[in-house]
């Protein structure tokens, strides 16, 4: 049974729709990440699950119980805020105990839960400090501890790492993944950072324009993006897009690129015509012999283990290719590019994706 179930939920602020008819099932113990650009509705959707925003239409079930009209505190979910929202006048211990005292739990039980959370998050020594005496990472941990003590049905994270510096973000991300493995709780996590989404999620829900564009495992959304938007949004550096005329013959297709070069692929598209051809940089190789097309290297980024070669094709379109770490390519060189045709995608004018076999 799904732990959290959204059934055709919608919301609008006045005349502006902010969530459009979304349905989603989150399984018990699953780590689901809402990924999308600013204004896509991901935070609003999380806040609707938390109860901080009302649900105008549709149903929300948590643990099988209809919750859309229940007060936030009674939904048995805990939320970790982007800026932590730790009460500045309370110690770490009191911050964690506050929610438990509100439901009238015995002090002895509260002490035990706080001590447990302190142990899980390795912050036993910090319990009597105030938030102002903690570093950013420690505050983040307290915010998570405040959620853990409630032993909720689900944890809701609203961009919890965005206030941390880069190094701490990586470390906290790993800690979060470990925490999820340890307590095996259902977690919903909002971010616009695709690295966080790819590394943490069991499943990613990609939102755009207040709708779900795709739901899938990190590798599914990366390898088989459902739309032009998902293909462009997921992956860094982003997917290459080239205008092409596609001729179809059964399950085979030939795409003619803007510079006149032709790429044959095995793909199931309903009809020929104008498509955008998509290919990730790691599927475009710099080769010494003849390739599928040629381009002029404009920028070469050596990243140590690999080299990104930014090229301009004959028609002026840009393609990022991958070469190995010891690449000899220099800006201004003409390079041959070979496409891994099993990793090609075609996108029709509506943005719908077709994937090569």
């Amino acid at each position: 049974m799904a732990d959290i179930s959204l059934q055709n939920v919608s919301k609008s602020f006045g005349a502006v729709d902010v969530i459009k008819d979304i349905s989603l099932e989150v399984e018990q113990g699953e780590f689901v990440v809402f990924l999308g650009p600013s204004g896509s509705g991901k935070s609003t959707l999380l806040r609707m699950i938390a109860g901080l925003e009302s649900i105008d239409r549709g149903k929300l079930l948590i643990g099988g119980k209809e919750c859309q009209d229940i007060a936030p505190g009674q939904r048995n979910v805990a939320m970790v805020f982007q800026n932590y929202a730790l009460y500045p006048h309370m110690t770490v211990r009191d911050n964690m105990a506050f929610g438990l005292r509100n439901i009238g739990m015995k002090e002895k039980d509260i002490e035990a839960r706080v001590a447990d959370a302190g142990r899980i998050l390795e912050m036993d020594a910090l319990l009597d400090r105030r938030p102002s005496q903690l570093s950013g990472g420690q505050r983040q941990r307290v915010a998570i501890g405040r959620a853990i003590v409630k032993e909720p049905a689900a944890f809701l994270f609203d961009e919890p790492l965005s206030n941390l510096d880069a190094a701490l973000r990586v470390r906290t991300r790993v800690e979060l993944a470990q925490l999820h493995q340890r307590i095996a709780a259902t977690m919903i996590y909002v971010t616009h950072d695709q690295t966080e989404a790819m590394t943490l999620a069991d499943r990613i829900v990609i939102l755009n324009d207040c709708r779900i564009e795709q739901i899938g495992t990190p590798m599914e959304v990366y390898t088989y993006p459902a739309s032009r938007f998902v293909a462009g949004f997921v992956g860094s550096p982003g997917m290459n897009f080239l205008n092409s005329d596609v001729a179809v013959s059964g399950k085979e297709a030939t795409a003619t690129l803007g510079d006149g070069s032709r790429v044959a692929m095995s793909i199931d598209v309903p009809e020929g015509g104008t498509y955008e051809l998509g290919i990730r940089p790691e599927a475009v190789h710099v080769v010494t012999g003849e390739g599928d097309t040629t381009g002029e290297a404009t920028v070469v980024e050596n990243l140590g283990d690999r080299t990104l070669v930014y090229t301009r094709l004959g028609d002026g379109s840009s393609v990022i290719a991958l070469d190995d770490g010891r690449s000899q390519v220099a800006p201004g060189d003409t390079v041959s590019l070979r496409f891994d045709t099993s990793q090609l995608h075609l996108f029709d004018s509506s943005g719908r994706a077709y994937h090569a076999d």
């Binding site: 901080l52 505190g73 929202a85 929610g99």
Partner: protein
């Protein structure tokens, strides 16, 4: 060039300092004059020329005020009514400020405009209504009669609302997620996060209430129920006004407030700054 600039700035600073000192002397001189005069003999006070120091310093006027008047009762009345006004004003304004700032209910905006509009109405305009109302309630010559009409202080509500508005909404949301009731959110989150403003407003409200004259003067006719500001008008007898005696009483009346100000100087200044932008 820099030197010239610094010198120009310093000259400007010196001029401002001189002006400030002169203004402070002009402002403080009457207080000095009052205090000094309270130690003079009555005939020294009415001399036509200025004497900056008493010729024969005496404490007899203080002795008179402390032994021959009901100043003890007046102190008690002032403390009780000023404390009553402070506690009730601050606690009710706190609730109103919180409700208007944080809760969403029908008529909230109208209520807010009414509170702002009540600023435009000076207390003096309402004083006859207050008198009739308090008289009909049989509360003249009582502490309650002195306190009740003094509980209207929109500025305290406005300052609280502004402070509560500035608390990031995540704190409230975190408390809501923590299953806290409105009363607990107010008492455990919002009030502790704003202790500074509560202290400052309490001190200023206390000083306002202690210094109040017009309403206590109307509401009380029995000498033993007077507050100290009203009581000092009674330090005269059938033979006329004794300035030194009245000034001694006035010094005694002002002493607790001056002491409170000295003790809580920083908070009082903060409160005056807080309300400066809004107080009419």
């Amino acid at each position: 060039m820099n030197l010239a600039r610094t010198r120009r700035v310093n000259i400007a600073g010196a001029i401002i300092t001189v002006i400030t000192v002169i203004a402070a002397i002009i402002w403080a001189f009457p207080i000095y004059w009052g205090i000094v005069s309270s130690f003079k003999l009555e005939d020294e006070v009415v001399r036509p020329y200025i004497e900056l120091w008493p010729e024969h310093p005496t404490l007899r006027h203080y002795w008179f005020a402390l032994t021959q008047t009901q100043i003890g009762s007046w102190y008690v009345n002032s403390v009780a009514t000023a404390l009553g006004v402070t506690v009730l004003t601050v606690s009710t304004s706190l609730l109103v400020g919180y409700a208007i700032s944080q809760l969403r209910f029908p008529g909230r905006r109208v209520l807010w405009w009414l509170i702002l509009a009540s600023f435009m109405v000076p207390t003096q305009v309402l004083i006859i209504n207050h008198f009739v109302l308090i008289a009909n309630m049989g509360l003249l010559n009582t502490w309650a009669g002195i306190i009740l009409p003094q509980l209207i202080h929109p500025v305290v509500i406005i300052v609280y609302k502004q402070f509560f508005d500035q608390v990031p909404k995540e704190f409230r949301e975190a408390a809501v997620m923590d299953n806290a009731s409105e009363l607990r959110i107010l008492s455990k989150v919002y009030i502790p996060m704003n202790w500074g403003v509560t202290t400052a407003l309490s001190i200023v409200t206390f000083i306002w209430a202690w210094n109040a004259f017009l309403w206590p003067f109307l509401a009380v006719t029995r000498t033993e129920m007077m507050t100290i500001t009203v009581g000092i008008t009674q330090v005269s007898d059938a033979f006329g006004v004794y300035y030194a005696r009245q000034l001694a009483s006035a010094v005694l009346a002002g002493f607790p407030v001056a002491l409170a100000y000295l003790l809580f100087q920083r908070r009082v200044t903060q409160a005056i700054t807080l309300s400066a932008g809004i107080k009419g």
